[in-house]
Amino acid sequence: MGEGKLTEIRWHARGGQGAVTAAKLLAETALAQGNYFQAFPEYGPERMGAPIQAFTRISTEPIHIRSSVTNPNIVVVLDPTLLNTVDVTAGMQTDGILIVNTDDEPAEIRKMLRLKGRKIYTVNATRIAQETIGRPIPNTPMMGALVRATGMMPIENLADYVRSSFGKKFAAEIIEGNVKAVERAYAEVKAE
């Protein structure tokens, strides 16, 4: 993120996968960095399992724009089954970044979406979450992948933030599971 540059992120997920929580967590992390942000879900007939979107804006300067994000710099897909049903790359910037929770290689995703240019990252966040947190909730590991793909902050900052933020609500093993999930996704994400 350059000085004053606005970064717009669109999250695609299914209701219950924690996209709204991830968008919120990222906003709070941005505050800890001294940045400005907005995080907002698209409110519609959301329910468990239905496709949903959430948005995050981050900037080093105050953000005035209030309309929805239509040309995101970064798209994060928490559920690979959405790739067949939702146009996840709609309006994406030509130098944008796509991050998908999948076991597939980035090249396979590129072929499947017929996507030209842009950078594609993949990581199996669901498996990482299952192995570290004990539940298939991909949102925190995807944060680790996002930090790796964008370089928006050192991974230690995110891990620290997860510890301090989750510390109020969760047991120590859950917190450390989430930290491990973030770190593993950061290490395991593949790029193309």
Binding site: K24, A27, Y43, R66, S67
Partner: protein, 406 residues
């Protein structure tokens, strides 16, 4: 003339902290810090999270408030009127159909000169039923004798909620604070909040001038008024509401001293050297600033006047602020069906009519029922203004509906 506009940030005397919170959470926090005597409210989307969070504060013993669970908004406002007349500091919150259900009580609250503060989260009126933002709910209540303060951001909404308490008690009038449903209410935003003690000190202890429970000095509340008295009562209400304008400025100035955040009757954004401008209120003012900054880079001399105080309407100040312009667009997030255009357009146009020097003016309705209003729509408005200012086009007589499907 009184200072009307938002100035750069002054030095804050109070501490406070920066938070990441939704607009509704900020409003609930302000209510907690105010610690009103009575809150009677009924949940309705998108206001619900305010009453939820405030109910948590009550349940956790963090406020002393008597929280009255009611079965409808009609009862909520009725309970607020009773409690306020009794001499309590009273707050409530609602949206859309909830505000509509309070209708008959709204004008009773103002006529009884009760300083009730209500946060209304703007949502489109049914029908068809819709939960998303427009201003049709509160604009419909514009003639009810309430002070109306619009907020662009969560910061403004938080600040306006605290300011409203003092305005209401000084003006002896109910005050409605507005912020945009979902856009402001549910987005997590960065803003600064005061410490509880500073808010408490600012609002002070409430000592009602008139109280039903003051048995040492019995007074009559809400009597029947025959033609011999009704008219004078309404005159008194008009005088009181007009006087609220200076009270809003005074209280806002006092608030600036502790918060460092200055608010006027409206905000002028890059307006002084502009030759065209947009008048708007609510969250779309933010998107308009974004578009203006981009247009300015290309040399377009465009500015904005963002209304904060809609009731009482600061007509003379607005006319003065717009008089130097060639063309003005007024954007309404509600329609006044059957009229020439939306309510803000009608008011601004009327305010300018008797001015010797006045701009051409064109009205727009936008974003009804939560229709997204992106930069492209505001760019269209600026292109229209350039044509009108350049004499290439006359202002359209009919209101333009932005972003509607043909």
């Amino acid at each position: 003339m009184a200072k009307t506009t938002t100035a750069p940030r002054a030095r804050a005397k109070a501490k406070g902290k920066t938070v990441a919170m939704t607009g509704n959470a900020g409003c609930a926090l302000a209510m907690k810090q105010i610690n009103p005597d009575v809150v009677a409210a009924y949940p309705i989307t998108p206001q619900t999270t305010i009453v939820e969070e405030f109910a948590n504060y009550v349940a956790n013993g963090q406020v002393d408030t008597e929280y009255v669970n009611v079965e409808s908004e009609h009862s909520a406002m009725s309970a607020c009127i009773g409690a306020s007349a009794a001499g309590a500091r009273v707050m409530t919150t609602t949206s859309s159909q909830g505000l509509a259900l309070m209708w008959e009580e709204l004008s009773i609250a103002s006529a009884m000169r009760l300083p009730i503060v209500m946060h209304n989260v703007n949502r489109a009126l049914s029908g068809p039923i819709n939960i998303h933002c427009d201003h049709s709910d509160s604009m419909g209540a514009r003639d009810m004798g309430w002070v109306q303060l619009f907020s662009e951001t969560a910061q403004e909404s938080y600040d306006n909620t605290i300011i409203a308490v003092k305005v209401a008690e000084k003006a002896l009038l109910p005050v409605m604070v507005l912020h945009d449903g979902f856009i402001t209410s549910h987005a997590i935003d960065r803003f600064d909040v005061l410490d509880d003690a500073d808010v408490q000190k600012f609002v002070g202890e409430y000592k009602p001038k008139h109280a039903l429970l003051n048995v040492d000095n019995p007074e009559t509340f809400g009597p029947f008024a025959m033609p011999a008295f009704y008219y004078e009562q309404r005159k008194a209400l008009r005088v009181a509401l007009d006087a609220a304008k200076d009270i809003v400025l005074k209280v806002s100035n006092d608030y600036a001293k502790i918060s460092g955040r200055e608010y006027g009757l409206f905000e002028e954004y890059r307006l002084a050297d502009a030759n065209i401008a947009i008048v708007v209120l609510g969250s779309t003012a933010g998107t308009t600033k974004y578009v203006i900054d981009e247009a300015r880079e290309k040399g377009v001399k465009v500015g904005m006047l963002k209304l904060r105080l809609f009731r009482p309407f600061p007509a003379a100040e607005i006319a003065a602020a717009l008089s130097h312009l060639k063309a003005v667009a007024v954007m309404d997030r509600s329609d006044s069906i059957g009229a020439l255009g939306g309510p803000v357009y009608l008011e601004v146009k009327a305010a300018l009519y008797n001015s010797k020097k006045r701009p051409q003016i064109q009205g727009y309705v936008y974003g009804l029922g939560g229709r997204d209003t992106g930069p492209d729509q505001i760019e269209t408005v600026i292109e229209d203004l350039k044509k009108i200012a350049g004499g290439k086009e006359a202002p359209r007589e009919a209101v333009t509906l932005l972003g509607v499907k043909e």
